[in-house]
């Protein structure tokens, strides 16, 4: 299997910071706020590998830092420390040392991101089809008919009615907005897809359908994915491997079935036991 992503020592701290921030925060201290300087250690020393076709789950409760790690990888935030290497088409990219233009190019063409809040991932001023067209146009496709065809195909794949492709996203239900986001994220056939709490807040039946869709697409396209969620059910369904985070640290990692059936860390045991 080919490696797609290697992350080492990823840390993100908000605030002025001091020498003891990392030593006095974390699950052992039950907090991610530094007692000496008040900085928030949102994530510290996150390490993992991701291979082609794999789905990695990052699970944790609020404040665990799970979203932070992914935001740094997707360039929405700048990390405080650490490095990440992206392997693509025989090349290696040291993500945090790229300049902004290079980062934008990579995230436009080789990554996909689906946010919990569709307003972050979609442009609400243009139609659903237009949102997908925008992504394609960023990657130098300049034939109208081709764009139209590809947008239609993607929206059909994500089960959005083709008759609705020219409507504005604000007319869609939450579930459908997520589908449009997924279609948009897949437009450039990225080898790496980030999904940040994509089904949180949706009705259960809609959740099931979308998770189903994600897995089907993943089986077809062999996209490597990082799925951030607090929901054990989502982890069980989607992730091959899982990281469990608490107060910014990875406290356990392993195969998903092993984490769920034979959790080692006290916190993981508690989490698994409390799942409804």
């Amino acid at each position: 299997m080919d490696k797609v992503l290697k992350v080492r020592g990823l840390s993100k701290r908000y605030g002025k910071g001091c020498a003891t921030c990392f030593d006095k925060t974390g699950p052992d201290f039950d907090s991610n706020i530094c007692p000496d300087c008040g900085s928030v250690v949102a994530a510290h020393d996150v390490c993992f590998d991701l291979y082609a076709g794999e789905i990695l789950g990052i699970m944790g409760e609020s404040g665990s830092g799970k979203s932070t790690a992914v935001k740094c990888l997707y360039f929405d935030q700048e990390p405080t420390a650490g490095n990440a290497t992206f392997y693509d088409q025989g090349q290696q990219f040291d993500l945090f040392s790229l300049n902004k233009a290079q980062q934008r190019r990579l995230s436009n063409q080789r990554f996909g991101m689906v946010y919990q809040n569709p307003h972050l991932g979609l442009n609400f001023d243009i139609s659903a089809g237009g949102n997908i067209a925008e992504r394609l146009l960023m990657s130098d496709v300049d034939n109208y008919a081709q764009i139209r065809q590809r947008a239609t195909a993607l929206l059909s794949r994500t089960e959005v009615l083709p008759e609705r492709m020219d409507e504005l996203p604000k007319n869609f239900s939450g579930g459908m907005q997520q589908r449009v986001q997924i279609a948009k994220a897949l437009a450039t056939q990225p080898p790496l897809l980030f999904l940040d709490e994509v089904t949180t807040g949706l009705d259960l039946s809609v959740q099931a359908a979308i998770l189903d869709l994600i897995l089907e697409i993943q089986q077809q396209l062999q996209t490597a994915m990082i799925v951030v969620t607090h929901d054990l059910g989502v982890i069980r369904l989607l992730a091959d491997r899982t990281l469990v985070m608490k107060y910014g640290r990875v406290i356990e990692k392993g195969l998903t079935d092993q984490i769920l059936e034979d959790p080692q860390h006290a916190y993981t045991q508690r989490l698994v036991a409390s799942a409804l």
């Binding site: 299997m1 099931a208 195969l255 059936e261 034979d262 045991q269």
Partner: protein, 241 residues
């Protein structure tokens, strides 16, 4: 020449450390067994003797506490499953080691024929061909055809188990682990399953199984390993540490 076993288990033990309760629960202790290609090794013993735990330890659903699980791959290379990294295990699960548990995990909307076809698709078979083989397998399991295009979500326990088995047997892995595969099946279907297992033996599949019926053990097991309930009692966390 003596054939090399596909799996050699030496000194396998599994203990559960429950932090909340402050206890260590022993489950398996000093398990030793071999599984050879084209043959079935049965695990027997009273409830609580840790039989499922052995299977789960091999499949890595449980992290072994002690011991070696030496697996010989298709290419002849041997590795200790207890030490294998996550990617290796995922690869092995996809290509060489299968596990039929008592629970059926499936995608909410997949029809049962696709659930069964999935292991083949993962190995590179075309969807159409995989589905055809899946249907053959479901027919062999006596699952009524009208159920093939429906999701197993609404099936009875026995129906689910048949889908589960079909999926487990279809890919003919190098090593197949079976945890009470015939538990919810009627005698006729059980016979069918026995037949399928015999076929798998002929195809060289190595199997390690737990059966709830002793007669089945007599019928198809080539080797029998008996486990005892661990003599170690529950110990407090501090003592073990």
């Amino acid at each position: 020449m003596k054939e090399k076993p596909v799996l050699q288990v030496r000194g396998y033990a599994k203990r559960f450390v429950l932090h909340e309760q402050g206890k260590v629960i022993p489950s398996s202790y000093d398990v030793n067994l071999d599984v050879y290609p084209g043959s079935l090794t049965a695990l027997i013993g009273p409830t609580g003797a840790g039989k499922s735990t052995v299977l789960k330890g091999i499949y890595r659903t449980y992290l072994p506490s002690d011991g070696e699980l030496l697996f010989t791959r298709e290419n002849g290379e041997t590795l200790d499953l207890a030490q294998a990294d996550e990617h290796q295990v995922l690869e092995l699960r996809r290509d060489e080691i299968g596990f039929v548990t008592q629970f059926l995990h499936f995608l909410p909307r997949q029809p049962s024929e696709d659930v069964v076809a999935q292991p083949l698709v993962q190995r590179g078979y075309r969807q159409q061909q995989a589905r055809k083989l899946a249907r053959d397998m479901l027919a062999a399991m006596n699952l009524p055809e009208r159920l093939w295009g429906i999701s197993p979500a609404t099936f009875s326990g026995g129906e689910k188990q048949r889908v589960n088995l079909a999926r487990g047997l279809i890919a003919k892995p190098r090593l197949l682990l079976l945890d009470e595969p015939t538990a919810s099946l009627d005698p006729k279907t059980t016979d069918r399953v026995v037949g399928l297992i015999e076929n798998l033996k002929h195809e060289g599949v190595a199997m390690l199984a737990i059966f709830h019926q002793p007669e089945l053990v007599t019928r198809i097991a080539d080797r029998v390993v008996e486990l005892e309930t661990p003599t170690l009692n529950e110990t407090l966390l501090e003592e073990i540490a």
